[in-house]
């Protein structure tokens, strides 16, 4: 057990730093698309130290204080409950605790804690951001779960390790190719889950300055930024495991996740923003239908 | 004899039926009451001929006598009531 804990700490450390760098890259891409030069790739580190360096920090109450902790626990937990690299002890994490469903549900641990913390600040913008986030999330869930269901039926398992194992042996075994419909549904859902345009109304920097985290600063910000580094990575690891054959080496994992992270970014730079009800309707239409088709496909053709 | 009896009874019956219709239709209350009394009276004759003298007696006394009498009393009282109202 002790060995697992040490491994976990190392894995989290690696992923955090990788996440900071990727975020830097993404910001640069956004800048380039907007014909700006943008920040240096290591900008995230600068921000973190700056936030940490603030001499005072305030709190609005206990939940406010705990909110970022919940948030980061959610991010790290999500990462730690799944095998990031297939067959590598260092990155197998605590995946023995539960299967795919645990991951799906655990995503909300951070969301909920953060929502509660932000709400306690008493800032209306936080609350508005939270309601938007929750509302959008409900719709994003559906196509995503449909895709997961398709995968689970296809591989007859909810165990992520098992799913990865079945995708080994050549990229044609990836779910991407064996079940493109489910993959498509999931990738569309990913757009919503990543909170980038056109589904970034939750943060909506122009209207409700950055949404839920409005009131957060200093070391809270450190936690939130760290979460922003690791949480999307964890999600893309999940997608990688489900649809892109997983990874057998650390490098492969890093590359695949980077590519996956670029997908919402590429969509994001080229689309304007949806309102909440629009995105809800959208998710319950196109991706959901694709997801259902995916299940039908698995059910009738792969079984 | 028997034929005569039948003809008489038939006549009586017709009279009674006419009285009954009169009693029902007549606008004049006293006339109606009298017609009804007449029916009872004639009915008692019928009873007699139908070999029921006791019924005949009762019908004559109660149906023709008492009932008619009672109707007239009530008629007068109600007319008094209506009369008071007009004043």
């Amino acid at each position: 057990m002790g060995e697992k804990i040490v491994y976990a700490i190392i894995a989290v450390f690696i992923m955090l730093n990788y996440g900071f760098l990727v975020n830097g890259v993404i910001r640069r891409i956004y800048a380039r698309v907007g014909r700006r030069i943008g920040v240096p790739i290591y900008q995230m580190y600068i921000d973190l130290f700056k936030s940490w360096g603030l001499r005072t920090n305030i709190r609005h109450g206990t939940m406010f204080y705990l909110g970022p902790i919940f948030r980061l626990t959610g991010g790290i937990g999500l990462f730690l409950f799944m095998p990031a690299v297939y067959g590598l002890a260092l990155f197998t994490n605590f995946s023995f605790s539960g299967d795919l469903l645990l991951l799906l549900s655990f995503q909300f641990f951070g969301t909920l804690g953060m929502a509660l913390g932000a709400s306690e600040s008493g800032h209306p913008n936080s609350a508005i951001g939270v309601t938007r986030g929750l509302a959008q999330m409900t719709a994003v869930e559906v196509p995503f779960i449909l895709a997961i269901m398709a995968v689970a039926i296809q591989y007859d398992s909810l165990s992520l390790t098992e799913i990865i194992a079945q995708q080994q042996g050549g990229f044609l075994n990836w779910t991407l190719f064996t079940n493109p419909l489910a993959t498509a549904a999931a990738l569309l859902a990913m757009l919503g889950a990543m909170m980038r345009a056109p589904f970034d109304v939750v943060l909506a920097p122009q209207e409700i300055p950055i949404g839920p985290p409005t009131e957060y600063h200093s070391n809270y910000m450190v936690f939130l930024q760290s979460n922003r580094a690791i949480f999307p990575l964890a999600k893309s690891i999940l997608f990688m495991n489900l649809f892109f054959g997983g990874a057998t080496t650390i490098v492969m994992m890093l590359v695949k996740t980077f590519i996956l992270l670029m997908w919402p970014v590429l969509v994001g730079v080229s689309f304007p923003r949806f309102r909440v009800e629009q995105s809800i309707r959208w998710f319950l239409r196109v991706p959901m239908i694709i997801g259902l088709l995916g299940i039908a496909y698995v059910h009738f053709f792969l079984k | 004899m028997e034929t005569f009896k039948i003809i008489m009874m038939a006549t009586l019956a017709v009279v009674m039926i006419i009285s009954a219709i009169m009693a029902v239709l007549s606008k004049e209350m006293p006339l109606a009451i009298l017609a009804s009394g007449a029916i009872s009276l004639l009915a008692s004759i019928f009873f007699l001929i139908l070999a029921s003298p006791d019924v005949a007696m009762t019908e004559a006394a109660i149906g023709a006598g008492l009932t008619t009498f009672l109707f007239f009393i009530i008629l007068r009282k109600t007319e008094q009531n209506s009369h008071e109202d007009k004043k």
């Binding site: - | 009874m9 009693a23 009804s36 003298p53 109707f71």
Partner: protein, 123 residues
Amino acid sequence: MNLTIDKIALLLGMSLMLIGLWGGFTQKNLLKIILSFSIFDTGLNILIVALGYLPGRTAPIIDGSAVTPENLALVAIDPVPQALVLTAIVIGFGTTALLLAYALKLNQHKKSLDINQFTDLKW
């Protein structure tokens, strides 16, 4: 058609009953309605007596000559229906009297004998 006394009586009774009912259903004056009912009663009584009539027999009164206790069942008419009718007449009178009392009471209140005036209670 072979008319006999009891047939005439039967027809008469029925006619009176029908006329009585007709009057009771159509007349609007309370007294007329009561009157019609008493005609109906009379008709009913005639009907019953007529039903019990056996041609050629005498009244069920033991007079010692024609009717004796021994031949009562052969010579006389069954006395029971007559007793019944007797009772019915008395009871009918009671009912009529009570109805008239009601008519009076109702008349005292509304100064009218029109049955349509007494429909406050409905539904």
